[in-house]
């Protein structure tokens, strides 16, 4: 084979990019509108944000936010669930609803020529949901089936159990976003109706629209279909985000004969609105956020322990969790945990190199326009801005903020926001194989549980 003499090329001059321009408007009943006209392809995304997330649930009713959101699309006072789905799908769209921690959403993407019809159905669903008991109970059964499936699904089980070991019992964050088997089993039509009545009010809603449409058209459609909805706003709520423990502990969830261990290491992180957001983002990118991050390169490319490993600070209004996540061959569970702990210690004590920072910075800076190719992604970005109350110029100043983070900022962020002394270690795996190696780590007191969370020993 001949030698190719082409040297590694340099980039040419970058072209300007602007996040799509968008505007704020409101209806007289308090419903907010955020509209970003984007005229690339003939489609429009509608994203209604409703202040009715899981964090606003009452204790004992965990799961009602998601159940209510999902019940919305199961029919209106006028249309049966099937008729609604059929009508909407004949417009080419699917109408999806769900609740996350901080808000519920009703969302769809349709061809712009079908926007008017879709908008009318969309508004009807919000204002006059049928909330039929039969469908509510079916959705409850489906959620319970999902939770049952989780018992045999190590990845999902690990995520669910980790939250339970990180947050204290009084915290809503200790239970799954969609509720637990016990809490969901208690829910019925009355709880769904009450939750809808308390939280689905125009004063607690923002409609985010992105795509091939102008602001005036959206405002007119919103006025027409939602404008005479009587005003009102839901109560303000705030989730408890306190930790279960301030010291390390090991939690093994037994799965006999598991060929792999699902490993999670985590603690309470920080609220999305924390002023250290950007330094923490860069720090995490170097630690475990990118493919070329320390944890992934160490566990995957140096040791071949895993198909992949990452770390994340989950964004929420209150402090979401920080955790490292990976799945490794059972025999190397102890070694993998040791390497992760080393990486956490190393980034706190030694800081990072300028080449590592520049990789993370240039990646996050450069990939910015690539993240917003679709109307759904633009609507989602604007939704985050609304939900977390970010500044209106957030997306215009984002790249500068990323580039402004220094090595010293990253070191400070690691020192202040990584808490190795408070880490909870969770392993879903075979106790016969992982028990001894994990014990030898001398990480902390060890307990063993079954897949239901029942403690077996420790």
């Amino acid at each position: 084979m001949m030698a190719v003499l082409n040297p590694r090329p340099e980039p040419t001059a970058p072209r300007d990019y602007q996040f799509p321009r968008w505007t704020r408007n409101s209806l007289s009943n308090g419903l907010q509108l955020v509209i970003a006209p984007v005229r690339r392809l003939p489609i429009v995304t509608l994203n209604m944000l409703i202040d009715a997330g899981a964090a606003s649930e009452k204790r004992g009713e965990e799961g009602v936010a998601n159940l209510t959101a999902r019940a919305l699309v199961e029919g209106t006072t006028r249309l049966s669930g099937f008729d609604l789905a059929e009508r909407f799908e004949r417009l080419g769209g699917s109408l999806d609803a769900g609740a996350s921690w901080d808000f519920a959403t009703l969302t769809t993407t349709v061809l712009s020529e079908r926007l008017q019809d879709a908008f009318a159905l969309f508004s009807e669903v919000l204002r006059s949901p049928g909330l039929p008991e039969r469908e509510v109970l079916r959705l409850r059964t489906e959620r319970l089936a999902g939770l049952l499936q989780l018992r045999a699904e190590p990845r999902g089980l690990a995520d669910e159990m980790l939250a339970h070991f990180i947050y204290r019992e009084a915290s809503r964050y200790a239970l799954p976003e969609d509720g637990s088997a016990t809490s969901v089993a208690r829910l019925g039509l009355a709880e769904v109706q009450a939750f809808y009545k308390a939280r689905y009010k125009p004063g607690g809603m923002t409609l985010v629209v992105a795509g091939d449409v102008d602001a005036d058209t959206v405002i007119a459609l919103a006025e027409q279909t939602l404008g005479d909805w009587p005003p009102g706003a839901p109560d303000r709520t705030s989730a408890d985000d306190q930790a279960a423990r301030s010291t390390r502990a090991v939690h093994i969830v037994a799965k006999a004969d598991a060929p792999q261990s699902e490993i999670r290491l985590g603690h309470v992180g920080l609220p999305r609105t924390h002023p250290d957001h950007f330094p923490v983002m860069l720090m995490n990118a170097v630690l475990g956020g990118l493919f070329s991050s320390r944890i992934n390169l160490n566990l995957r490319e140096v040791h071949g322990y895993t198909y992949g490993a990452f770390s994340v600070f989950e964004p929420r209004r209150q402090a979401g969790p920080f955790y490292v996540s990976t799945a490794v061959k059972s025999e190397v569970t102890g070694d993998a945990v040791r390497e992760i702990l080393l990486e956490i210690d190393r980034i706190r004590s030694e800081g990072i190199g300028s080449d590592e920072l520049s990789l993370a910075t240039s990646y996050l800076d450069g990939v910015f326009p690539i993240k917003y190719e679709t109307t759904a992604a633009i609507a989602q970005a604007l939704s985050a801005l609304v939900v977390y109350g970010l500044a209106d110029d957030y997306f215009d100043t984002y790249r500068g903020a990323v580039r402004g983070v220094t090595i010293a900022d990253v070191l400070t962020a690691a020192a202040n926001h990584l808490h190795p002394e408070a880490l909870q270690l969770l392993v879903v795996g075979d106790p016969a194989v992982v028990g001894d190696p994990v014990e030898r780590l001398a990480f902390g007191p060890l307990s063993v549980y079954d897949s239901e969370g029942t403690q077996l020993s420790g």
């Binding site: 970058p14 099937f82 499936q149 239970l175």
Partner: protein, 437 residues
């Protein structure tokens, strides 16, 4: 919606498609190599995919792990994937970084072998074995990935065996295999390159010539084994698997016309009528009315050779027996097989597919991938612009005929997952509830 398409072929056989779109300052580079698990020799299942991993381990002028690093440093995203009959590699970068993306792809197409070492192969073998554990062995229903093609194609057929491969075969893979596979399949005449997004066509063409033009043509690849199969199974096939699952799941598999044919569009619409969206027949009846299923999906493998597979995938609701679920699925399939579909159903399905396609075409990476696909299978990337029209032309009569001819009991294979009987728990352990729920 019309996607710009301009194609040419280099003298070494590399088929190139350029698709300009200046709506954002980004550009996607996408390569399809016309090789997949179907090309593996006996005893080397999983090798095409293991080889894909090796392509990220550097090349003559690129260090180990540098491929990922250089693209990310350029502000780009990247990955690769392996399928039964193709392997693709792709990156989306800010448009002023087009050259580095092309240079990286050309360096590994032209000069991969100098960077290959036993140590890298051993590490990637371990990574892939962990990928297998993660996606197949330690995942409920995870073996469906290999069981569906295994039941859908006869044992000697190139699509029959596992794509992710067996642990034994992965252990056997050697550096010699890497060299041979590279020389045979990773040649410009067995690849297509697509560039989609914000670029200047003459500059892009010059870069392609400069970086790829001097890579020598291959010596030709051995033909695939016999791809032909009868249009239907002939007799019913059935496999029941006990697995670490909580709820039964049923896969009902049909041999289907190959991807790209007129009839394949009928098959897609039939599949969408059965299982796409809440208005589909299976979701309406099994999930909503009878409440015996918790999840429904219907999909095709999109295989362009031999035959495709149309697959119905339904998970039971809690407490529902697999046999009851199976009977109900069969009843719905019988209904469309015997009585056909309505115009309104075809319209609903076509509208959903059209919206989905338009949504996907917003992304430069997705556009490039579709263009590469049509270029690889049909040497005609322009087919991307014919898709909406071809779906719209499908009529109720066509779908009904497809259902009559292809969805009968002579063309059904059934794969059933049932929960494994659990041994009684150890009574000596003291159980105290740790969860507050």
């Amino acid at each position: 919606m019309s996607i710009a398409v301009q194609s040419f072929t280099l003298s070494n056989g590399l088929f190139v498609t350029l698709s300009e779109d200046h709506s954002a300052p980004i550009v996607a580079v996408n390569l399809w190599y016309h090789v997949g698990s179907a090309n593996e020799r006996p005893g080397r299942t999983g090798f095409a995919h293991l080889f894909e991993h090796m392509l990220f381990q550097g090349s003559a002028n690129v260090g180990a792990n540098e491929h990922f690093e250089l693209v990310q440093r350029a502000g780009g995203t990247l990955n690769g994937s392996t399928w039964l009959d193709r392997t693709n590699y792709f990156e989306t970068v800010p448009s002023h970084q087009l050259a580095i993306a092309l240079w990286l792809e050309a360096d590994r197409m032209g000069q991969l072998l100098p960077a290959m070492t036993q140590g890298k192969l051993d590490t990637q073998r371990d990574v892939v074995k962990n990928e297998r554990r993660w996606s197949v062995d330690n995942q409920p229903y995870g073996t469906w990935w290999e069981r569906v093609p295994a039941i859908g194609f006869p044992p000697e057929h190139p699509f029959h065996h596992s794509l992710i491969g067996s642990m034994e075969d992965l252990s056997e893979a050697s550096l010699h295999d890497v060299e041979q596979f590279f020389a045979t399949y990773y040649t410009p005449d067995n690849a297509v390159l697509t560039i989609a997004g914000d670029f200047d066509p003459s500059e892009a063409r010059a870069l392609v010539d400069k970086y790829f033009g001097q890579i020598p043509r291959g010596a030709g690849k051995p033909p695939l084994g016999d791809m032909s199969v009868a249009p239907s199974f002939g007799e019913p096939r059935r496999l029941v698997v006990e697995d670490e699952v909580m709820l039964p799941r049923i896969y009902l598999i049909f041999r289907a016309p190959v991807f790209g044919t007129e009839e394949h569009y009928d098959a897609s619409i039939a599949g969408a009528i059965l299982g796409m969206g809440k208005g589909s027949r299976l979701t309406r009846t099994l999930v909503r009315e009878q409440q015996i299923a918790s999840e429904v999906s219907v999909f095709t493998f999109d295989l362009a050779k031999g035959a495709d597979l149309l697959v119905i995938d339904v998970t039971a609701q809690t407490g529902v027996d697999a046999s009851i679920l199976e009977r109900a699925i069969v009843q719905q399939v019988d209904a469309i097989h015997e009585r056909g579909v309505t115009h309104a159903e075809v319209e609903r399905a076509a509208a959903l597919i059209e919206t989905q396609f338009t949504i996907a075409m917003q992304s430069a990476g997705d556009r490039a991938d579709k263009l590469s696909m049509f270029a690889t299978y049909f040497r005609d990337p322009n087919l991307v612009n014919a898709q909406s029209e071809r779906y719209r032309k499908v009529t109720a009569a066509r779908v009904s005929r497809f259902a009559r001819e292809r969805l009968g009991s002579d063309n059904r294979a059934t794969l059933v997952y049932v929960p494994r009987e659990v041994e009684p728990a150890d009574q000596n352990l003291t159980a105290t509830s740790a969860k507050s729920t």
